[in-house]
């Protein structure tokens, strides 16, 4: 019935070749000789009965078909690695490496606390942290480069397991006069031109803030976009404008300038925080535990606040 399936090692070599686009470097990275890698690819092509790369005497390119095969091969290797890891840590489900990714508007304010709590509650887990954009983290999650992502929801269509771990309220900060104005009448359109400062496009926080406050009007928003929360605050401060901050950043005291006002926004303005992992992962128990820890963390901050 089922046919002659390719060798997993060969699929790994294929992935390395795709990554390095060079036989020698791919071979080095795989700790095998160049000829091993070369013949593995030939063997794969023979076995699958289709051309994966187009050879051009000196160099090569992947065929469109070859790229599809790479994608699928990656899925297979990820799944098998999951199996292997699962077995290696059987008996200690709350152990092993945990590669966790988060976005720049969460990571600095949540992960230090999380790391500390993990060390207490999950002493056998080795935590590896990674900070990147939502988009990149999703790719890394799919490719098995990280195990869990902590993101601001909602996240574009995906097929991961998702667990909501809490809400993170929005705050408005900046020039006291402007803040007071808005505090009395929460209509942002009364603000001066270019007085709202935002993070650059790739940060989902801007999106959330804009949609939460109905300030799509480009005139209000300053055309220069900051690349981190700290520069964002400094910009708003320097130019006497306002900006939006998530509660977890506020709690960590990112607003230290004395002449800056800070107001919590209405209760319905918040972002949801969620944990994501591969549906196929075999470590759901650990991830659920971690999501509980994060939930507790967010709750504690909230209680502490009130």
């Amino acid at each position: 019935m089922s046919a002659n399936l390719p060798n997993l090692k060969h699929l790994q070599y294929l992935l390395a070749l795709y990554q390095y686009q060079n036989f020698n470097r791919a071979a080095d990275a795989s700790f095998v000789s160049q000829s091993t890698l070369s013949s593995a690819i030939l063997k794969l092509e023979e076995q699958l009965r289709c051309q994966l790369i187009e050879r051009d005497h000196k160099s090569f390119v992947f065929t469109p078909h070859g790229e599809e095969v790479v994608k699928k091969a990656r899925q297979i290797i990820v799944a098998t690695t999951e199996l292997s890891d699962y077995c290696r840590h059987y008996g200690t489900p709350f152990g092993g490496n945990l590669r966790l990714g988060s976005i720049p508007t969460i990571a600095p304010y949540l992960l230090t606390d999380l790391a500390e709590i993990c060390q207490q509650q999950l002493p056998d887990v080795s935590l590896y942290l990674r900070e990147d954009t939502t988009e990149n983290l999703m790719r890394m999650l799919a490719d098995g480069e990280i195990d869990v992502a902590i993101l601001a929801l909602p996240v574009p269509q995906h097929s991961f397991q998702q667990k909501v771990v809490g809400r993170d309220a929005f705050y408005i900060t900046g020039n006291s006069a402007l803040i007071n104005k808005v505090k009395q009448d929460p209509d942002y359109h009364q603000l001066p031109q270019h007085s709202i400062f935002l993070l650059s496009q790739e940060h989902c926080l801007s999106e959330h803030a804009v949609s939460a406050c109905n300030v799509e009007d480009q005139g209000l928003i300053h055309p220069f976009y900051a690349s981190s929360l700290t520069t964002l605050i400094q910009m708003a401060h320097y130019h006497k404008g306002v900006t939006f901050l998530p509660q977890m950043a506020v709690d960590k005291g990112v607003v230290s300038q004395k002449d800056m006002a800070l107001e919590k926004m209405p209760d319905d303005m918040y972002r949801e925080i969620g944990l994501l992992w591969r549906t196929t992962s075999m470590r759901q128990r650990l991830f659920l535990k971690v999501s509980q820890l994060v939930t507790d963390l967010l709750d504690i901050e909230k209680i502490h606040k009130s």
Copy 2:
């Protein structure tokens, strides 16, 4: 970085062993000797560093952990088989074997037409049909035993790709006097005790019909449940009761008794028909084509009807 992954062949042997629960039979089914299979399992256990089966001198049982490994191994083998199939039929995306499953209240009325249209529109596809319950078909889909399922929606939580292909109206048929009564006043509670006949539990049609008509009242429903639509009709006929039929069955003339009335139910009483396939499949183009064919089929019947 990534470890020493198990051999796919070994995983296949493990699946065979799980299926047959016997080394000799599993070895035969895998076309290898018993010693090969035995050492493959040992090798796997050594490589994964965990016990998969508990040996009891003469026989064995899978450990709970071993069963988890089997599940994951099945995923891996399915994915790799998809890869292999995809390559084998590269260039002819509308070719190859198509193993399609459907439920007993759809299959007999839809699949003959579908088979005919497939032969015309997809001459290079070899269609294999399979009839079973929703639950079993979902398992078979997950395990790669079939490629697509045509089911009545909604289907319990799942992680398959789903495409709605049409609506199938409900009809009521049976004793003319009862049907007339209901026709004038669509309250089913006026019907005599035990006058509503249904299919047995495992057919989702009953569920849909019951929830569509609000006849949860057990008194109305006859305690004997039919196991197919034709026996269902005969039961309703013989006992002068009524029953519900899907339009596709009606269109195929399942109600031939002269003294049986047949009425279409209100427009909002229908079941949705959907195609499901593995999200991981590499043949989405084919499946979308097939779902289009089914959509057309259901539409044509509808037009033909009106």
